[in-house]
Symmetry: C2
Subunit: 493 residues, 2 copies
Amino acid sequence: MAKELDFLTKRSTDYSKWYNELVVKADLAEQSDVRGCMVIKPYGYAIWEKMQRVLDDMFKETGVQNAYFPLLIPKSFLSREAEHVEGFAKECAVVTHYRLKTNETHDGVVVDPAAKLEEELIIRPTSETIIWNTFKNWIHSYRDLPLLVNQWCNVMRWEMRTRLFLRTSEFLWQEGHTAHASREEAEARAQQMLKVYAKFAEEYMAVPVVQGVKSETERFAGALDTYTIEAMMQDGKALQSGTSHFLGQNFGKAFNVTFMDEQNQQQFAWATSWGVSTRLMGALIMTHSDDNGLVLPPALAPTQVVIIPIYKNDEQLAKVSEAVAPIVESLKKQGVSVKYDDADNKRPGFKFADYELKGVPVRLVLGARDLENGTVEVMRRDTLEKEVWPLEGIAEKIPALLQDIQANIFKKAKDYRDARIYECDDYEEFKSRVKDGGFFLCHWDGTAETEAKIKEDTQATIRCVPFGVEQTPGVDMVSGKPATCRVLIARSY
Amino acid sequence: MAKELDFLTKRSTDYSKWYNELVVKADLAEQSDVRGCMVIKPYGYAIWEKMQRVLDDMFKETGVQNAYFPLLIPKSFLSREAEHVEGFAKECAVVTHYRLKTNETHDGVVVDPAAKLEEELIIRPTSETIIWNTFKNWIHSYRDLPLLVNQWCNVMRWEMRTRLFLRTSEFLWQEGHTAHASREEAEARAQQMLKVYAKFAEEYMAVPVVQGVKSETERFAGALDTYTIEAMMQDGKALQSGTSHFLGQNFGKAFNVTFMDEQNQQQFAWATSWGVSTRLMGALIMTHSDDNGLVLPPALAPTQVVIIPIYKNDEQLAKVSEAVAPIVESLKKQGVSVKYDDADNKRPGFKFADYELKGVPVRLVLGARDLENGTVEVMRRDTLEKEVWPLEGIAEKIPALLQDIQANIFKKAKDYRDARIYECDDYEEFKSRVKDGGFFLCHWDGTAETEAKIKEDTQATIRCVPFGVEQTPGVDMVSGKPATCRVLIARSY
């Protein structure tokens, strides 16, 4: 459609460039002047807010409550859990001073050397340490458990190479942290939250995901098990979209969080943590969008329906507006978010292109001739198909159309992915094919050595041992050693 | 009521201690191990979430959209607006490095001196600078205006003396930032948002507020005018509960944000900013609560109604539960949040005290004898009055009772405050009375000298030039010079 969109690079030309341009041109986000930190623009944030609202309700239904913990973490806390510090202490923002003062030339400010902190503080890269340091005071008896807490916040990991939404130094996320009286209960909670993420990804984002468990190498620093959902982007690469960790008693021991069990024995508490971030925005954008711009699932689109009038004069506009008013009212009553765009400083062609770029799922166009004929032009963003429908009763048909679009984009994404999942038993074949993307199900001998060799040879990594795949023993394609299962291997974001 | 609450200091004994204890014992918040930073506990956060939801809807109704800007601000940005840097650069957290490394003894981490930032970054104390630096790219023409943006986020100001919710180094807030094509429109927006805050405080928090404009001394750093809402706590002190600033073209000029007006002339954009924070929690707690604990306005109470069964055996409990089920269902249908607490590991007396401490507005108690009589005991938290009501139709009467409580606690707070607003024309009288709290309406000559003297002599400050007070010229009580208006003076938090 239309010249106005020629500025967007085609996916087939350069998928990565297409993504970068789309994020900026659809007004979702932009780089800030602070290295690696993004500005989330109002349209992007409106989508994130919808995601937050749905996820938050899903968490609360499982008994989780929200809370808020400090942004800053004493440096020494990070060292308390041996693996955790290796994973997170390395690249993080360090606060060393608490005051600036006017410089000698009185034209700027400098750090006041007198205001040096005794112990440096770290901007949280994740909050296990500060939260378990707090849990110590909240947990005394098995009656205090389970403790199910979540926070929505910003975190910071100093990244050298950043991409909007996918990898930024600061990002927004939720991190759930739970404490339990038994190993079984904690493991079940970690798996339960993975299922919440998978349900959210598939039913709201319309993004099909593979659920599974990470290899030891790919585990969260300090976890005994990391569960993951992996989505496939249109270039066949994997995007890790959410993780849930079974942390065992590692943080209970590191922060001395104990409780009296029912037999009056002192025990260390068992832990989980789980999170999804603004990275989900990247998954959403890359899974569905096309060369015309965003394609948004109706369940998360800030505006689900846009109505555009076609008119030659004020009289015609007045007539169209009169016909549109009851449609808008009816849609709102049905819980559909709708915008009637009668702005007269933009041509219809510009509006068409702009709402396509923004991914509004349904567009209705109504002109003077339509009024005469009792018709309306309906365009669905997912297929770009236009149809002429009777004006009478149009509003009542919209919810079903939105549901159909939601189902269709999920099916389209799932068909695309399923056609690119391959069983592969030959390493040479694997090496030649993995460049072109796709998820490869391969036998693995379970060693870190094999994993490292695959990564070195191909940049691909073991994404997970997938759940729900029928497993047969076999031979590792790299080492030739026996393997008990197939793992999912792919190049990834 | 009951022994269980003897642990709470009485307001008359030590108001400040009462507040500190209440915040912790009602599970609202606690100090963290990070100096000056609090942990907001689930119950406290649930109240904050309700506040956020209402405010967010009110902002959006005025056309404001949410967005997100970076946590970190380059040091040099702060110096761009001369007054702003004086106000905010002084006590702030400074990030100087971006990496830790393992120490020589391999038992901890130290700051990696090689990872020193070229320019230090400041954790935002407020975001005018980074946001106006971004607006520069968003604003070109009058058609891009007004730009109405808000963000919900954490900010940090390094405070030496902190108190939970009232003054903490890190706090949560919203900050609205708007850009306009004219001075008039920006001033009107700043005033409009003050009215939104006043409406929220009075209609949802049930906290009566005085609206007014700050003296030059008390203005936000970089503002031409600061509007404020001031609430009176039960010790007669003022709590500044929200501010809205008309920033003129100061930030437009500092960050070179210009636009082409309708006459194709280049102009600097006009600005406002406005914010409320978790400090509102302090205002809410201190305005209504009593020696038994929290008193929450129904409009913001996470649980509005609690139902407690009285029983001697499982059979009786089963009967009570059977009678309670339709009440719970009916309340939920009416949008009332209700909890049926049939936990059998706590005595009814403990539950009574605990829900009083937590400020649940309405308590229903139902026992075997009530069932026989077809009655239920209804207690309202605001007055602690118990009444016996017919069980039949009880659920339908609850919404009106909640409304009555909401109106009653507002009236009570307003009567309390209004009885402590004094006109005063004599400085000796003022000095002797201001110690005991209260809002004093006094003539002021408009000079910073007089203002400073009052503060030095009494610790009281000019809270605002109040709106809606009939003003008559008079004589400044301190200097004896002519005064055009009365200002509101009080000691404050």
